[in-house]
Amino acid sequence: MNRLLAIAGRELRSMFVTPDAYVLIGVYMLFAGFIFFASLGIFLVQLQQIQALGMMQLLDQWNLQDIVIGQSFSTFALFMCFLVPLLSMRGFAAERANGSIELLLTSPASSSEIVLGKFLAIAALLLVVGLLTGSFVALLFLYGDPELLQTLAGLQTLFLYSLALAAMCCFISALTRSQIVAGFVGIAAALLLLILPVAADSSQSDSLKEVLRWLGSSSHFDPGLKGEIRSEDLAYFGIVIAVFLSLARAAVDSLRWR
Protein backbone atom coordinates (compact mmCIF):
# COMPACT_ATOMS: atom_id res chain seq x y z
CA MET A 1 0.00 0.00 0.00
CA ASN A 2 2.86 2.37 0.84
CA ARG A 3 4.52 1.56 -2.43
CA LEU A 4 1.26 2.12 -4.30
CA LEU A 5 0.80 5.52 -2.68
CA ALA A 6 4.44 6.43 -3.36
CA ILE A 7 3.96 5.65 -7.05
CA ALA A 8 0.67 7.57 -7.21
CA GLY A 9 2.17 10.53 -5.34
CA ARG A 10 5.19 10.77 -7.60
CA GLU A 11 2.99 10.55 -10.67
CA LEU A 12 0.70 13.33 -9.45
CA ARG A 13 3.56 15.60 -8.40
CA SER A 14 5.26 15.23 -11.75
CA MET A 15 2.00 16.12 -13.52
CA PHE A 16 1.85 19.37 -11.61
CA VAL A 17 5.50 20.40 -11.88
CA THR A 18 5.35 20.06 -15.65
CA PRO A 19 2.91 22.30 -17.56
CA ASP A 20 1.15 19.35 -19.25
CA ALA A 21 -1.71 18.93 -16.81
CA TYR A 22 -2.30 22.68 -16.42
CA VAL A 23 -2.40 23.24 -20.16
CA LEU A 24 -4.66 20.27 -20.89
CA ILE A 25 -7.09 20.97 -18.08
CA GLY A 26 -6.99 24.68 -18.87
CA VAL A 27 -7.89 24.12 -22.51
CA TYR A 28 -10.61 21.67 -21.51
CA MET A 29 -12.11 24.24 -19.12
CA LEU A 30 -11.99 26.90 -21.80
CA PHE A 31 -13.92 24.77 -24.28
CA ALA A 32 -16.25 23.31 -21.69
CA GLY A 33 -17.02 26.78 -20.35
CA PHE A 34 -17.66 28.10 -23.82
CA ILE A 35 -20.03 25.24 -24.67
CA PHE A 36 -21.84 25.54 -21.39
CA PHE A 37 -22.44 29.28 -21.47
CA ALA A 38 -23.20 29.27 -25.20
CA SER A 39 -25.89 26.64 -24.70
CA LEU A 40 -27.21 28.64 -21.76
CA GLY A 41 -27.36 31.73 -23.96
CA ILE A 42 -29.19 29.88 -26.74
CA PHE A 43 -31.62 28.47 -24.20
CA LEU A 44 -32.45 31.92 -22.88
CA VAL A 45 -32.98 33.35 -26.38
CA GLN A 46 -35.26 30.44 -27.31
CA LEU A 47 -37.14 30.83 -24.06
CA GLN A 48 -37.86 34.48 -24.87
CA GLN A 49 -39.01 33.55 -28.38
CA ILE A 50 -41.37 30.92 -27.03
CA GLN A 51 -42.79 33.39 -24.54
CA ALA A 52 -43.11 36.07 -27.22
CA LEU A 53 -44.99 33.67 -29.46
CA GLY A 54 -47.11 32.59 -26.54
CA MET A 55 -46.56 28.86 -27.09
CA MET A 56 -46.94 28.11 -23.42
CA GLN A 57 -47.54 24.37 -23.95
CA LEU A 58 -43.94 24.09 -25.23
CA LEU A 59 -42.54 25.53 -22.02
CA ASP A 60 -43.15 22.33 -20.09
CA GLN A 61 -40.72 20.40 -22.27
CA TRP A 62 -38.33 23.31 -22.58
CA ASN A 63 -36.44 22.98 -19.36
CA LEU A 64 -33.00 24.02 -18.23
CA GLN A 65 -32.09 20.52 -17.13
CA ASP A 66 -32.37 18.68 -20.43
CA ILE A 67 -31.40 21.44 -22.76
CA VAL A 68 -28.49 23.12 -21.01
CA ILE A 69 -27.11 20.59 -18.57
CA GLY A 70 -27.91 17.40 -20.51
CA GLN A 71 -26.58 18.74 -23.81
CA SER A 72 -23.43 20.22 -22.28
CA PHE A 73 -22.64 17.01 -20.45
CA SER A 74 -22.86 15.06 -23.72
CA THR A 75 -20.35 17.46 -25.24
CA PHE A 76 -18.09 17.16 -22.17
CA ALA A 77 -18.15 13.38 -22.62
CA LEU A 78 -16.85 13.91 -26.14
CA PHE A 79 -14.10 16.17 -24.75
CA MET A 80 -13.11 13.37 -22.38
CA CYS A 81 -12.20 11.24 -25.42
CA PHE A 82 -9.38 13.71 -26.02
CA LEU A 83 -8.55 14.92 -22.52
CA VAL A 84 -8.13 11.54 -20.81
CA PRO A 85 -5.82 9.94 -23.41
CA LEU A 86 -3.67 13.08 -23.47
CA LEU A 87 -3.48 13.18 -19.66
CA SER A 88 -2.61 9.51 -19.32
CA MET A 89 -0.36 8.93 -22.32
CA ARG A 90 2.77 9.67 -20.26
CA GLY A 91 1.97 6.83 -17.87
CA PHE A 92 4.11 3.88 -18.80
CA ALA A 93 5.34 5.16 -22.16
CA ALA A 94 7.50 7.85 -20.54
CA GLU A 95 8.86 5.45 -17.93
CA ARG A 96 9.88 3.06 -20.67
CA ALA A 97 11.40 5.77 -22.83
CA ASN A 98 13.58 7.25 -20.06
CA GLY A 99 14.48 3.90 -18.51
CA SER A 100 12.93 4.56 -15.12
CA ILE A 101 10.69 1.54 -15.64
CA GLU A 102 13.78 -0.48 -14.68
CA LEU A 103 13.71 1.15 -11.26
CA LEU A 104 10.06 0.20 -10.77
CA LEU A 105 10.48 -3.36 -11.97
CA THR A 106 13.57 -4.01 -9.83
CA SER A 107 11.91 -2.53 -6.74
CA PRO A 108 9.78 -4.64 -4.41
CA ALA A 109 6.62 -3.12 -5.94
CA SER A 110 4.37 -5.65 -7.69
CA SER A 111 2.87 -5.11 -11.13
CA SER A 112 -0.53 -4.55 -9.53
CA GLU A 113 0.85 -1.86 -7.26
CA ILE A 114 2.53 -0.14 -10.18
CA VAL A 115 -0.64 -0.17 -12.32
CA LEU A 116 -2.96 0.85 -9.49
CA GLY A 117 -0.55 3.60 -8.44
CA LYS A 118 -0.60 5.11 -11.92
CA PHE A 119 -4.36 4.72 -12.20
CA LEU A 120 -4.95 6.31 -8.82
CA ALA A 121 -2.92 9.38 -9.83
CA ILE A 122 -4.98 9.87 -12.97
CA ALA A 123 -8.19 9.23 -11.05
CA ALA A 124 -7.25 12.01 -8.62
CA LEU A 125 -6.60 14.36 -11.53
CA LEU A 126 -9.93 13.43 -13.13
CA LEU A 127 -11.67 14.09 -9.84
CA VAL A 128 -10.29 17.61 -10.01
CA VAL A 129 -11.59 17.88 -13.60
CA GLY A 130 -14.99 16.65 -12.40
CA LEU A 131 -15.09 19.20 -9.57
CA LEU A 132 -14.10 22.03 -11.89
CA THR A 133 -16.81 20.97 -14.32
CA GLY A 134 -19.24 20.84 -11.43
CA SER A 135 -18.25 24.37 -10.41
CA PHE A 136 -19.81 26.12 -13.37
CA VAL A 137 -22.87 23.95 -13.29
CA ALA A 138 -23.15 25.11 -9.69
CA LEU A 139 -23.47 28.68 -11.01
CA LEU A 140 -26.83 27.68 -12.52
CA PHE A 141 -28.14 26.94 -9.06
CA LEU A 142 -27.55 30.58 -8.14
CA TYR A 143 -29.83 31.82 -10.92
CA GLY A 144 -32.22 28.96 -11.66
CA ASP A 145 -33.49 25.83 -10.06
CA PRO A 146 -32.09 22.80 -11.92
CA GLU A 147 -32.62 19.32 -10.49
CA LEU A 148 -29.83 18.77 -7.98
CA LEU A 149 -29.94 14.97 -8.04
CA GLN A 150 -30.08 14.71 -11.81
CA THR A 151 -27.15 17.08 -12.12
CA LEU A 152 -25.08 15.13 -9.59
CA ALA A 153 -25.95 11.91 -11.42
CA GLY A 154 -24.69 13.49 -14.62
CA LEU A 155 -21.43 14.55 -13.00
CA GLN A 156 -20.97 11.12 -11.48
CA THR A 157 -21.50 9.48 -14.85
CA LEU A 158 -19.03 11.84 -16.48
CA PHE A 159 -16.46 10.95 -13.80
CA LEU A 160 -17.05 7.19 -14.12
CA TYR A 161 -16.79 7.43 -17.87
CA SER A 162 -13.48 9.30 -17.60
CA LEU A 163 -12.18 6.65 -15.17
CA ALA A 164 -13.05 3.92 -17.66
CA LEU A 165 -11.16 5.79 -20.38
CA ALA A 166 -8.23 6.27 -17.99
CA ALA A 167 -8.03 2.52 -17.33
CA MET A 168 -8.05 1.87 -21.05
CA CYS A 169 -5.34 4.47 -21.69
CA CYS A 170 -3.26 3.07 -18.83
CA PHE A 171 -3.22 -0.24 -20.67
CA ILE A 172 -2.46 1.37 -24.04
CA SER A 173 0.45 3.35 -22.62
CA ALA A 174 1.95 0.15 -21.20
CA LEU A 175 2.20 -1.23 -24.74
CA THR A 176 4.48 1.41 -26.23
CA ARG A 177 7.50 3.58 -25.58
CA SER A 178 6.05 6.45 -27.54
CA GLN A 179 3.80 8.92 -25.76
CA ILE A 180 2.48 10.16 -29.10
CA VAL A 181 1.42 6.66 -30.11
CA ALA A 182 -0.16 6.09 -26.70
CA GLY A 183 -2.06 9.37 -26.97
CA PHE A 184 -3.34 8.87 -30.50
CA VAL A 185 -4.28 5.23 -30.07
CA GLY A 186 -6.05 6.21 -26.85
CA ILE A 187 -8.08 8.92 -28.61
CA ALA A 188 -8.91 6.56 -31.48
CA ALA A 189 -10.02 3.80 -29.11
CA ALA A 190 -12.13 6.22 -27.06
CA LEU A 191 -13.85 7.56 -30.19
CA LEU A 192 -14.38 4.03 -31.49
CA LEU A 193 -16.15 3.01 -28.27
CA LEU A 194 -18.20 6.16 -28.53
CA ILE A 195 -19.53 5.43 -32.03
CA LEU A 196 -20.07 1.67 -31.63
CA PRO A 197 -23.78 2.13 -30.90
CA VAL A 198 -24.11 4.01 -34.23
CA ALA A 199 -22.52 1.04 -35.95
CA ALA A 200 -24.97 -1.15 -34.07
CA ASP A 201 -27.91 0.60 -35.70
CA SER A 202 -26.64 -0.19 -39.17
CA SER A 203 -25.89 -3.80 -38.34
CA GLN A 204 -28.04 -6.53 -39.91
CA SER A 205 -27.82 -9.21 -37.27
CA ASP A 206 -29.75 -8.66 -34.07
CA SER A 207 -27.28 -10.38 -31.81
CA LEU A 208 -24.39 -8.36 -33.21
CA LYS A 209 -26.49 -5.25 -32.74
CA GLU A 210 -26.97 -6.10 -29.08
CA VAL A 211 -23.28 -6.79 -28.54
CA LEU A 212 -22.15 -3.59 -30.24
CA ARG A 213 -24.67 -1.56 -28.34
CA TRP A 214 -23.54 -3.06 -25.05
CA LEU A 215 -19.85 -2.50 -25.84
CA GLY A 216 -20.33 1.10 -26.89
CA SER A 217 -19.64 3.67 -24.22
CA SER A 218 -22.25 6.22 -25.30
CA SER A 219 -25.15 3.82 -24.76
CA HIS A 220 -24.00 3.62 -21.13
CA PHE A 221 -23.31 7.24 -20.35
CA ASP A 222 -26.25 8.80 -22.19
CA PRO A 223 -28.88 7.83 -19.58
CA GLY A 224 -26.54 8.81 -16.74
CA LEU A 225 -25.76 12.23 -18.19
CA LYS A 226 -29.50 12.89 -18.37
CA GLY A 227 -29.78 12.00 -14.72
CA GLU A 228 -30.83 8.38 -14.82
CA ILE A 229 -28.45 6.06 -12.93
CA ARG A 230 -28.92 2.47 -14.07
CA SER A 231 -27.14 -0.44 -12.44
CA GLU A 232 -26.27 -1.98 -15.82
CA ASP A 233 -24.34 1.17 -16.70
CA LEU A 234 -22.49 1.16 -13.38
CA ALA A 235 -21.65 -2.49 -14.04
CA TYR A 236 -20.41 -1.60 -17.52
CA PHE A 237 -18.00 1.04 -16.21
CA GLY A 238 -16.85 -1.27 -13.42
CA ILE A 239 -16.18 -4.07 -15.88
CA VAL A 240 -14.32 -1.82 -18.32
CA ILE A 241 -12.10 -0.50 -15.51
CA ALA A 242 -11.40 -3.97 -14.11
CA VAL A 243 -10.70 -5.52 -17.51
CA PHE A 244 -8.31 -2.80 -18.66
CA LEU A 245 -6.45 -2.63 -15.35
CA SER A 246 -5.93 -6.41 -15.48
CA LEU A 247 -4.72 -6.09 -19.06
CA ALA A 248 -2.37 -3.30 -17.97
CA ARG A 249 -1.03 -5.52 -15.22
CA ALA A 250 -0.44 -8.30 -17.75
CA ALA A 251 1.33 -5.82 -20.03
CA VAL A 252 3.61 -4.69 -17.18
CA ASP A 253 4.27 -8.31 -16.30
CA SER A 254 5.23 -8.98 -19.88
CA LEU A 255 7.83 -6.17 -19.70
CA ARG A 256 9.65 -8.35 -17.20
CA TRP A 257 10.00 -11.06 -19.81
CA ARG A 258 11.79 -9.14 -22.50
Binding site: R3, N98, T106, P108, W257
Partner: protein
Amino acid sequence: MIEAQGLTKRYGGLTAIADVSFKIAKGEVVGFLGPNGAGKTTTMRILTGYLPPSSGSASVGGFDLAKDGRSAKRVTGYLPESPPLYPEMLVREYLAYVAALHDVLRRQRPEKVARALAACGLEKMEGRVVRTLSKGFRQRVGLAQAIVHDPAVMILDEPTAGLDPIQISEIRELIRRLAAEEGRTVILSTHILAEVEAICQRVLLIAYGRLRLDERLDDLRQQGSLEQVFLREVQAAADVQGKAAVQVEAEL
Protein backbone atom coordinates in the same frame (compact mmCIF):
# COMPACT_ATOMS: atom_id res chain seq x y z
CA MET B 1 25.53 -13.25 -0.68
CA ILE B 2 24.96 -13.67 -4.40
CA GLU B 3 24.61 -17.07 -5.94
CA ALA B 4 23.98 -18.00 -9.57
CA GLN B 5 23.31 -21.59 -10.54
CA GLY B 6 23.42 -22.53 -14.23
CA LEU B 7 21.83 -19.30 -15.42
CA THR B 8 20.76 -19.41 -19.04
CA LYS B 9 18.84 -16.76 -20.91
CA ARG B 10 17.52 -17.14 -24.42
CA TYR B 11 15.84 -14.39 -26.42
CA GLY B 12 14.01 -16.27 -29.12
CA GLY B 13 16.78 -18.11 -30.97
CA LEU B 14 19.58 -16.06 -29.44
CA THR B 15 21.31 -17.37 -26.35
CA ALA B 16 22.50 -14.35 -24.37
CA ILE B 17 24.08 -16.32 -21.55
CA ALA B 18 24.55 -20.04 -21.08
CA ASP B 19 25.09 -21.94 -17.87
CA VAL B 20 26.59 -19.13 -15.81
CA SER B 21 27.34 -20.14 -12.21
CA PHE B 22 29.19 -18.30 -9.48
CA LYS B 23 29.09 -17.47 -5.79
CA ILE B 24 29.98 -14.16 -4.23
CA ALA B 25 30.60 -13.91 -0.50
CA LYS B 26 29.57 -11.05 1.76
CA GLY B 27 31.80 -8.00 1.45
CA GLU B 28 33.41 -9.01 -1.82
CA VAL B 29 33.83 -6.46 -4.58
CA VAL B 30 33.63 -8.29 -7.87
CA GLY B 31 34.32 -6.97 -11.35
CA PHE B 32 32.16 -8.40 -14.07
CA LEU B 33 34.31 -8.13 -17.13
CA GLY B 34 33.64 -8.82 -20.77
CA PRO B 35 33.46 -7.32 -24.22
CA ASN B 36 30.31 -5.43 -25.19
CA GLY B 37 27.43 -7.78 -25.85
CA ALA B 38 28.96 -10.61 -23.82
CA GLY B 39 25.95 -10.97 -21.52
CA LYS B 40 26.94 -8.76 -18.58
CA THR B 41 23.77 -6.71 -18.57
CA THR B 42 21.59 -9.79 -19.04
CA THR B 43 23.21 -11.48 -16.04
CA MET B 44 22.78 -8.37 -13.91
CA ARG B 45 19.17 -7.98 -14.93
CA ILE B 46 18.53 -11.54 -13.84
CA LEU B 47 20.22 -10.91 -10.48
CA THR B 48 18.07 -7.82 -9.91
CA GLY B 49 14.87 -9.68 -10.70
CA TYR B 50 14.21 -7.59 -13.81
CA LEU B 51 14.45 -10.60 -16.13
CA PRO B 52 13.60 -14.17 -15.27
CA PRO B 53 16.22 -16.69 -16.46
CA SER B 54 15.20 -19.25 -19.10
CA SER B 55 16.71 -21.86 -16.83
CA GLY B 56 18.87 -21.96 -13.74
CA SER B 57 18.36 -20.13 -10.49
CA ALA B 58 19.79 -17.21 -8.60
CA SER B 59 19.63 -15.91 -5.07
CA VAL B 60 20.60 -12.59 -3.54
CA GLY B 61 21.08 -12.09 0.19
CA GLY B 62 19.90 -15.65 0.74
CA PHE B 63 16.55 -15.05 -1.00
CA ASP B 64 15.77 -17.09 -4.07
CA LEU B 65 14.70 -14.72 -6.85
CA ALA B 66 12.06 -17.05 -8.22
CA LYS B 67 10.49 -17.81 -4.83
CA ASP B 68 11.00 -14.65 -2.81
CA GLY B 69 11.91 -12.01 -5.34
CA ARG B 70 10.45 -9.22 -3.22
CA SER B 71 12.83 -9.86 -0.30
CA ALA B 72 15.76 -10.18 -2.69
CA LYS B 73 14.85 -6.87 -4.33
CA ARG B 74 14.58 -5.18 -0.94
CA VAL B 75 18.24 -5.94 -0.12
CA THR B 76 19.53 -5.04 -3.58
CA GLY B 77 20.61 -1.64 -4.82
CA TYR B 78 20.78 -1.47 -8.60
CA LEU B 79 22.24 1.10 -10.92
CA PRO B 80 21.27 0.25 -14.50
CA GLU B 81 23.42 1.30 -17.42
CA SER B 82 21.56 4.58 -17.74
CA PRO B 83 20.48 5.86 -14.32
CA PRO B 84 16.68 5.51 -13.96
CA LEU B 85 15.98 9.16 -13.18
CA TYR B 86 12.88 11.32 -13.43
CA PRO B 87 14.08 14.56 -15.03
CA GLU B 88 11.38 16.76 -13.48
CA MET B 89 11.96 15.72 -9.85
CA LEU B 90 14.16 17.32 -7.20
CA VAL B 91 17.13 15.19 -6.17
CA ARG B 92 15.84 14.99 -2.59
CA GLU B 93 12.30 14.09 -3.70
CA TYR B 94 13.59 11.45 -6.05
CA LEU B 95 15.67 9.71 -3.39
CA ALA B 96 12.76 9.76 -0.95
CA TYR B 97 10.59 8.17 -3.63
CA VAL B 98 13.11 5.39 -4.28
CA ALA B 99 13.35 4.79 -0.52
CA ALA B 100 9.55 4.51 -0.29
CA LEU B 101 9.49 2.05 -3.19
CA HIS B 102 11.96 -0.10 -1.26
CA ASP B 103 9.83 -0.16 1.88
CA VAL B 104 11.82 2.33 3.95
CA LEU B 105 9.46 3.61 6.64
CA ARG B 106 8.27 7.19 6.28
CA ARG B 107 9.93 8.44 9.47
CA GLN B 108 13.28 6.92 8.48
CA ARG B 109 13.26 8.38 4.98
CA PRO B 110 14.69 11.87 5.70
CA GLU B 111 17.64 10.38 7.54
CA LYS B 112 18.35 7.75 4.88
CA VAL B 113 18.07 10.31 2.11
CA ALA B 114 20.48 12.63 3.96
CA ARG B 115 22.96 9.79 4.37
CA ALA B 116 22.79 8.81 0.70
CA LEU B 117 23.24 12.47 -0.30
CA ALA B 118 26.26 12.81 1.97
CA ALA B 119 27.78 9.53 0.85
CA CYS B 120 27.60 10.57 -2.80
CA GLY B 121 28.70 14.16 -2.29
CA LEU B 122 25.32 15.55 -3.29
CA GLU B 123 24.51 17.69 -0.23
CA LYS B 124 24.56 20.90 -2.25
CA MET B 125 22.48 19.39 -5.03
CA GLU B 126 19.56 18.12 -2.96
CA GLY B 127 17.27 20.97 -4.04
CA ARG B 128 18.22 20.84 -7.72
CA VAL B 129 15.95 19.52 -10.44
CA VAL B 130 17.45 16.34 -11.86
CA ARG B 131 17.17 17.65 -15.44
CA THR B 132 19.61 20.49 -14.69
CA LEU B 133 22.40 18.25 -13.36
CA SER B 134 25.56 17.45 -15.30
CA LYS B 135 26.19 13.90 -16.41
CA GLY B 136 28.61 13.25 -13.58
CA PHE B 137 26.12 14.41 -10.98
CA ARG B 138 23.34 12.38 -12.57
CA GLN B 139 25.53 9.34 -12.22
CA ARG B 140 26.01 10.22 -8.55
CA VAL B 141 22.27 10.51 -8.10
CA GLY B 142 22.04 7.09 -9.76
CA LEU B 143 24.46 5.71 -7.19
CA ALA B 144 22.63 7.47 -4.37
CA GLN B 145 19.35 5.82 -5.40
CA ALA B 146 21.12 2.46 -5.36
CA ILE B 147 22.17 2.89 -1.71
CA VAL B 148 19.36 4.97 -0.25
CA HIS B 149 17.62 1.94 1.25
CA ASP B 150 20.85 0.60 2.75
CA PRO B 151 21.09 -2.53 0.61
CA ALA B 152 23.48 -5.31 1.51
CA VAL B 153 24.18 -5.89 -2.18
CA MET B 154 24.99 -3.34 -4.87
CA ILE B 155 24.70 -4.24 -8.53
CA LEU B 156 26.21 -1.59 -10.79
CA ASP B 157 26.01 -1.82 -14.56
CA GLU B 158 28.87 0.15 -16.16
CA PRO B 159 28.85 2.84 -13.49
CA THR B 160 31.48 5.00 -15.21
CA ALA B 161 30.34 4.73 -18.81
CA GLY B 162 30.35 8.07 -20.62
CA LEU B 163 32.03 10.10 -17.87
CA ASP B 164 35.15 12.22 -18.19
CA PRO B 165 38.40 11.05 -16.53
CA ILE B 166 37.95 13.19 -13.42
CA GLN B 167 34.38 12.04 -12.94
CA ILE B 168 35.48 8.44 -13.50
CA SER B 169 38.06 8.60 -10.74
CA GLU B 170 35.52 10.30 -8.43
CA ILE B 171 32.91 7.63 -9.05
CA ARG B 172 35.46 4.86 -8.56
CA GLU B 173 36.54 6.38 -5.27
CA LEU B 174 32.90 6.62 -4.28
CA ILE B 175 32.21 2.96 -5.10
CA ARG B 176 35.29 1.89 -3.15
CA ARG B 177 34.08 3.85 -0.13
CA LEU B 178 30.50 2.59 -0.37
CA ALA B 179 31.79 -0.96 -0.59
CA ALA B 180 34.11 -0.60 2.36
CA GLU B 181 31.41 0.93 4.56
CA GLU B 182 29.29 -1.68 6.27
CA GLY B 183 30.86 -4.43 4.20
CA ARG B 184 28.54 -4.15 1.23
CA THR B 185 28.79 -6.78 -1.46
CA VAL B 186 29.35 -5.19 -4.84
CA ILE B 187 29.19 -6.56 -8.33
CA LEU B 188 30.00 -4.10 -11.09
CA SER B 189 30.21 -4.64 -14.79
CA THR B 190 32.66 -2.92 -17.08
CA HIS B 191 34.74 -3.46 -20.14
CA ILE B 192 37.47 -1.20 -18.83
CA LEU B 193 40.29 -3.29 -17.38
CA ALA B 194 41.77 -0.47 -15.33
CA GLU B 195 38.47 -0.09 -13.55
CA VAL B 196 38.59 -3.66 -12.29
CA GLU B 197 42.17 -3.19 -11.14
CA ALA B 198 41.23 0.00 -9.33
CA ILE B 199 38.17 -1.25 -7.45
CA CYS B 200 37.79 -5.00 -7.41
CA GLN B 201 39.27 -7.94 -5.57
CA ARG B 202 37.91 -10.57 -7.86
CA VAL B 203 37.14 -10.90 -11.55
CA LEU B 204 34.41 -12.75 -13.40
CA LEU B 205 35.07 -12.77 -17.11
CA ILE B 206 32.22 -13.45 -19.46
CA ALA B 207 32.48 -13.76 -23.24
CA TYR B 208 29.92 -14.95 -25.76
CA GLY B 209 27.51 -15.63 -22.94
CA ARG B 210 29.79 -18.03 -21.10
CA LEU B 211 31.73 -17.56 -17.91
CA ARG B 212 35.39 -17.92 -18.89
CA LEU B 213 37.18 -17.00 -15.72
CA ASP B 214 36.51 -16.59 -12.02
CA GLU B 215 39.61 -15.65 -10.09
CA ARG B 216 41.02 -13.31 -7.51
CA LEU B 217 42.79 -10.33 -9.00
CA ASP B 218 46.01 -11.11 -7.09
CA ASP B 219 46.18 -14.58 -8.63
CA LEU B 220 45.45 -13.23 -12.07
CA ARG B 221 48.30 -10.73 -11.90
CA GLN B 222 50.76 -13.61 -11.62
CA GLN B 223 49.60 -14.90 -15.01
CA GLY B 224 50.62 -11.68 -16.71
CA SER B 225 48.85 -8.40 -17.28
CA LEU B 226 45.09 -8.31 -17.02
CA GLU B 227 44.94 -7.24 -20.63
CA GLN B 228 46.78 -10.34 -21.83
CA VAL B 229 44.52 -12.60 -19.80
CA PHE B 230 41.44 -10.77 -21.06
CA LEU B 231 42.43 -11.01 -24.73
CA ARG B 232 43.47 -14.63 -24.38
CA GLU B 233 40.19 -15.67 -22.81
CA VAL B 234 38.00 -13.69 -25.19
CA GLN B 235 39.91 -15.15 -28.14
CA ALA B 236 39.52 -18.65 -26.71
CA ALA B 237 35.79 -18.06 -26.28
CA ALA B 238 35.57 -16.85 -29.87
CA ASP B 239 37.37 -19.97 -31.05
CA VAL B 240 34.90 -22.16 -29.22
CA GLN B 241 32.09 -20.18 -30.82
CA GLY B 242 33.68 -20.46 -34.26
CA LYS B 243 34.09 -24.19 -33.94
CA ALA B 244 30.60 -24.58 -32.66
CA ALA B 245 29.31 -22.66 -35.66
CA VAL B 246 31.26 -24.93 -38.03
CA GLN B 247 29.91 -27.99 -36.25
CA VAL B 248 26.37 -26.77 -36.57
CA GLU B 249 26.90 -26.16 -40.27
CA ALA B 250 28.33 -29.65 -40.71
CA GLU B 251 25.35 -31.17 -38.95
CA LEU B 252 22.94 -29.34 -41.19
